[in-house]
């Protein structure tokens, strides 16, 4: 029972971590929380599901196109909702982000209706035994894919020129410009990468819960925000750790306290972190 809950927690936690990476990267470079991250997650899921429903696209292509659509939406969102507001009080882009979130949810409601869509293709997942304990192969696949994406992101940020340039912009924008780094382009690239990860997260959850609907991004978005704060917003390893911890805490809390409190646990953690250690367990913003 405990082990099963731990695996459940790690599975959802790894998805929170993917979304939290989007929050944390965008905060790192712009100092703003993109509250529409959950809708980017929803967009990735919808595009993949609709493409698969046509029956003409294979799973991996649909997955990639879902991520691409989410990435594109992120880049457009930055152009429309954030870039014109640079230099304003930080509350202004925050309000703009909340507005974008409501707009995208309503747009999805209008286009796709309020009902849950099942995932169009059936996977045959089995339960295998690891060290005598039953684990679903679906959970292993999600956990593995999520960790793979996180690994790719870390390689991108640490070892590629553009990854380092993004870090440079987050650390010191003026000096980055002196190096010939175009900050606007790096901001776009950050939205592209962060949103692609959220899109991937959305598709994985659409398979896991077998449901895609316009408000699907709301709770995971808020929980991933809590995860980013828990890990120290602006801190990439912190977002991963925060997501996994939050997922496990939620899952164990639901099992041992009451499943009715499942969603409350994430936010209780958010409040506790903000009260006791507002810089997060790992420190934020590049430090």
């Amino acid at each position: 029972m405990f082990f099963q809950q731990l695996i459940n927690g790690l599975t959802t936690g790894s998805v929170y971590a993917l979304i939290a990476l989007g929050y944390t990267m965008i905060y790192g470079i712009l100092g703003l929380i993109n509250f529409a991250q959950g809708e980017i997650y929803m967009c990735g899921a919808f595009v993949a599901v609709l493409l698969l429903a046509t029956g003409k696209v294979n799973f991996f292509l649909a997955f990639a196109l879902g991520m691409a659509a989410a990435a594109l939406l992120g880049v457009i969102l930055e152009r429309v909702a954030f870039r014109p507001l640079r230099g304003f009080h930080p509350l202004v882009p925050l309000i703009s982000a909340i507005g974008a979130s409501i707009f995208l949810q309503s747009l999805a409601l209008l286009l796709f209706g309020p009902n849950d869509r099942p995932f169009p293709i059936q996977f045959t997942f089995s339960t295998i035994n690891i060290a005598g304990l039953p684990v679903s192969t679906l959970q292993i696949a999600i956990l593995g894919a999520a960790l793979g994406f996180m690994g790719l992101l870390i390689v991108f940020v640490r070892y590629t020129t553009y990854g380092k340039a993004i870090m440079a912009c987050a650390l010191d924008r003026d000096t980055a410009r002196l190096m010939g780094i175009n900050v606007d382009r790096m901001v776009s690239l950050t939205f592209l990468v962060g949103s692609a990860l959220s899109g991937a997260a959305g598709i994985m959850m659409a398979i896991y819960y077998n449901a895609t609907y316009p408000r699907m991004g709301l709770l995971p978005g808020l929980k991933a925000f809590s995860a980013a704060i828990l890990g120290g917003v602006g801190n990439i390893p912190g977002a991963i750790l925060g997501g996994l911890l939050l997922g496990v805490a939620e899952s164990l809390g639901a099992a041992y306290i009451s499943s009715g409190f499942k969603d409350a646990i994430a936010f209780a953690i958010l409040i506790l972190v903000l009260l006791l250690r507002p810089q997060g367990i790992l420190r934020g913003r590049g430090d």
């Binding site: 380092k164 340039a165 870090m167 440079a168 650390l171 003026d174 410009r177 010939g180 780094i181 590049g286």
Partner: protein, 241 residues
């Protein structure tokens, strides 16, 4: 090579530069000295595009820099070592150097330059994988200079490279500047430490509250009684007594 004509710049309603004109010829080391708040850093920020000037013209090697964004300057061959070094603290020493060559597409030559700079400043090789923020102030200054050199600048601008450094590190940094000068690098050096700056420079300008009040060869400025009194700390007793 670099010409400023009646440049005015400032922050908000506050004018800092009240129309300054200066020039730097190829191969020259020119220093701009002056006290706190004279506008030295503002001048460099105006040239490098971080603070576009309100009035006046800035030209560099036939290009009009007046309204050019900062990120394009480096492609023309203009590099600034900013005040307070401003290394990317959490990135490794090597990553800092590599970012200095961000705009360059000749990857082979960049690798070679990286080797050369590590050869020249062994500390940057020893500390290659350390976070830049863990270096001492002087080491960070060397890193900031190395980072700027990675761009292969035609004009190197330095903003107070001796600021906050221990005396032996100041000597070290100025030895590096003397080497760069001997190699023919064109340098615009902004300093509060007039004594060190006038030693290495060919010519100098004295900036006071946003205006250039004096200019001449470094030797003339060293001998100027006003410069000696205000910036070299000589003869202060007569003033007090």
């Amino acid at each position: 090579m670099l010409t400023l004509k009646s440049v005015q710049a400032g922050y908000g309603p506050l004018p800092v530069l009240k129309g300054i004109s200066l020039h730097v010829r190829a191969g020259e080391v020119v220093t701009l000295i002056g006290g706190n708040g004279a506008g030295k850093t503002t001048t460099l920020r105006a040239i490098s595009g971080l603070l576009p000037p309100r009035k006046g013209v800035i030209e560099f090697a036939g290009h009009d820099l007046t309204h050019m964004p900062a990120e394009r300057m480096v492609t023309l061959g203009l590099s600034l070592v900013p005040e307070g070094r401003r290394v990317f603290r959490t990135l490794s020493v090597t990553a800092n150097l590599e970012l200095g060559a961000f705009h360059r597409r000749d990857k082979g030559a960049v690798r070679q330059d990286l080797e050369d700079i590590r050869e020249r400043f062994p500390i940057l090789k020893e500390r290659a994988h350390q976070a830049a923020g863990t270096l001492s102030g002087g080491e960070q200054q060397i890193l900031a200079i190395g980072r700027a050199l990675m761009a292969r600048p035609r004009l190197l601008m330095l903003d107070e490279p001796s600021m906050g450094l221990a005396p032996q590190m100041v000597t070290r940094v100025y030895a590096i500047l003397a080497e760069l000068k001997a190699a023919g690098t064109t340098i615009l050096l902004v300093e509060q430490n007039a004594r060190a700056a006038l030693k290495v420079a060919d010519r100098g300008y004295v900036l006071e509250t946003g205006r250039i009040i004096l200019d001449g060869s470094a030797a003339d400025l060293r001998d100027d009684p006003e410069v000696q009194r205000a910036y070299l700390g000589k003869g202060y007793q007569e003033v007090w007594e």
